[in-house]
C-alpha cells in the first residue's frame, strides 16, 4: 500500500497539467494568505515597531557575521522546536512539522517529477505515507490531549473552533489521503475511491486557502520573531533583566 503512488492512477483521468496547476494555485494561496494574515492582524506593523525600538535602544551594532550566526542559531532552534519547554508538546510539534514537510515535498515531487506514465520510485509514495502518518500521530496527540483550551481551559477534547481550522484540516487531509491511497492499492470500487479523493481534495484545499483565518502562517512568522529575540539579546536592547550571575540552589 505504502509504495503505491495515488497520483499516477489519478493522471489517467486528470491530465498532469491540471494537477500541477492545482499545486501551484495552492502555493499562491499560501503566499497571498500569509501576506494578508500579517497585514490584517497588524502583527507585521507591531513587529516592525518593536524592531525599530530595539534598534534605537541597542547598546552595540551587530556585524554581518554575527547576524548570520544568529540566523543559523534560529534555524537550528526551529529545526528541533527548541522554543518548546515541555517535551510532549515538542514531540508532537516535531512530528507535525516534519510530517507536513515530507507530505508536501513528496506530493510536489510526485506530481511534477513523475507525471502520467512514468514509473515512480517506491521511496516517494513511502515518504508521502510516512509524512501523513507522522501528521496523524503528532496531530491526534496534540488535538485530544495538548490543545491548550482542552488541557488548561476546560474545553471538551471534541471541541472545534476557528483555532482548530489549521490542525483540523491538516489532520483530515492526511487521514483521507491515506484512505484514498489504501482504497486505490486495494482495488476498491470507483465510487469509494472517488469519494475519498473528493474528501482529500476538499480538506487539502481548505488547509491552503484558509491561511488568513487559520494558524498556518505561524510557521513563517515564528522563526522571524525568534530571530528578532536573539538579535535583541545580542545587541543589548532586550527589555529583560540580565540572567542572574549567581545560583541560589545550595542543597538537593
Amino acid at each position: 500500500m505504502f509504495s503505491h503512488n495515488p497520483f499516477a492512477a489519478l493522471s489517467e483521468v486528470l491530465p498532469a497539467i491540471v494537477m500541477q496547476g492545482y499545486v501551484l494555485l495552492m502555493a499562491v494561496a499560501v503566499v497571498i494568505g500569509t501576506l494578508y494574515d500579517v497585514q490584517h492582524k497588524g502583527s507585521a506593523e507591531y513587529f516592525g515597531r518593536r524592531r525599530k525600538r530595539a534598534e534605537a535602544e541597542a547598546k552595540r551594532r551587530l556585524s554581518g557575521g554575527e547576524r548570520f550566526l544568529l540566523v543559523l542559531a534560529t534555524i537550528a532552534e526551529a529545526a528541533v522546536s527548541g522554543e518548546f519547554c515541555k517535551w510532549p508538546r515538542r514531540i508532537t510539534h516535531l512530528l507535525k512539522m516534519y510530517g507536513f514537510l515530507l507530505y508536501v515535498i513528496s506530493t510536489v515531487v510526485m506530481v511534477f517529477g513523475y507525471p502520467a506514465g512514468t514509473q515512480t520510485p517506491a521511496v516517494l509514495p513511502a515518504l508521502w505515507s510516512l509524512g501523513a502518518l507522522m501528521i496523524l500521530a503528532g496531530g491526534l496527540w496534540f488535538f485530544f490531549f495538548q490543545r491548550v483550551n482542552v488541557a488548561f481551559d476546560g474545553a471538551s477534547p471534541l471541541h472545534l473552533g476557528r483555532a482548530d481550522l489549521f490542525i483540523g484540516s491538516l489532520l483530515a487531509s492526511a487521514f483521507f489521503a491515506l484512505l484514498w491511497q489504501h482504497a486505490q492499492s486495494a482495488g476498491a470500487g470507483a465510487v469509494l475511491v472517488w469519494t475519498l479523493f473528493g474528501l482529500y481534495l476538499f480538506f487539502t484545499t481548505l488547509l491552503f486557502v484558509t491561511v488568513p483565518w487559520s494558524k498556518f502562517a505561524h510557521m513563517f512568522f515564528k522563526p522571524a520573531v525568534a530571530y528578532q529575540r536573539k538579535v535583541e539579546e545580542a545587541s543589548g536592547s532586550s527589555d529583560l533583566p540580565r540572567p542572574s550571575a549567581e545560583s541560589f540552589i545550595v542543597r538537593s
Binding site: 492582524k41 502583527s43 507591531y46 513587529f47 522554543e83 518548546f84 519547554c85 515541555k86 508538546r89 490543545r147 491548550v148 483550551n149 488541557a151 488548561f152 481551559d153 473552533g161 476557528r162 483555532a163 494558524k215 512568522f221 515564528k222 520573531v225 529575540r229 527589555d239 529583560l240 533583566p241 540580565r242 540572567p243 542572574s244 550571575a245 549567581e246 545560583s247 541560589f248 540552589i249 545550595v250 542543597r251 538537593s252
Partner: protein, 146 residues
C-alpha cells in the same frame, strides 16, 4: 495595570492560565493564544509574567502615566533559584535586582503524602512533622537559659 500578551511571542502553552490567581488569563478561541479576559480584575501580581516561558506577557501602565515610559520586566530562572527584575524609571534610570526564590532544586519539594506517616507518639512532641531533619539542621534552636 492589567497584563497583556504579545501574540507573536505566545505559543499557547497555558502556563499563565494555570497560574493566574484571579482566573482571568484565558485562551482566545480564535487564535489559541492567551489573553486577559477581565483587565479590571488584574491586580498585577506578575504570576503570569514570571511563569511565561517566552516572556510574552507584559503589564500595561494606566493611560495617565504609561506615556512617561516606565517599565517593569522580570526574568525567572528556576534552575538558579533566582528571579531578576529590571526597572526603568520615568526619568530614564534603569535598575536591576536579583532575588533568591528558593534554595532547593525546582520540583524537589515533596508533598505531605510522599513522607512516611509519623509515629502516633509524635503527637506528644512539640516538633512539627519531620522536624528537624526536613529543615536540614541537627536540632531546632532553643533559647539559652530558658
Amino acid at each position: 495595570m492589567p497584563t497583556f500578551t504579545d501574540m507573536t511571542r505566545c505559543d499557547g502553552c497555558g502556563e499563565c492560565v494555570d497560574i493566574c490567581p484571579s482566573d482571568i488569563m484565558h485562551i482566545d478561541p480564535v487564535y489559541r493564544r492567551s489573553y486577559n479576559i477581565e483587565p479590571n480584575f488584574c491586580w498585577e501580581c506578575y504570576s503570569c509574567v514570571k511563569a511565561c516561558p517566552h516572556h510574552a506577557i507584559d503589564v500595561r501602565g494606566y493611560a495617565d502615566f504609561a506615556p512617561l515610559g516606565h517599565k517593569v520586566r522580570v526574568l525567572r530562572e528556576p534552575e538558579k533559584g533566582a528571579v531578576s527584575w529590571k526597572i526603568r524609571y520615568r526619568d530614564g534610570r534603569v535598575k536591576e535586582f536579583v532575588f533568591p526564590m528558593r534554595t532547593t532544586p525546582w520540583g524537589s519539594i515533596k508533598a505531605a503524602q510522599d513522607y512516611p506517616p509519623p509515629d502516633p507518639s509524635a503527637l506528644n512532641s512539640q516538633l512539627l512533622s519531620h522536624e528537624p531533619e526536613a529543615l536540614h539542621i541537627p536540632a531546632l534552636p532553643t533559647i539559652q537559659g530558658a
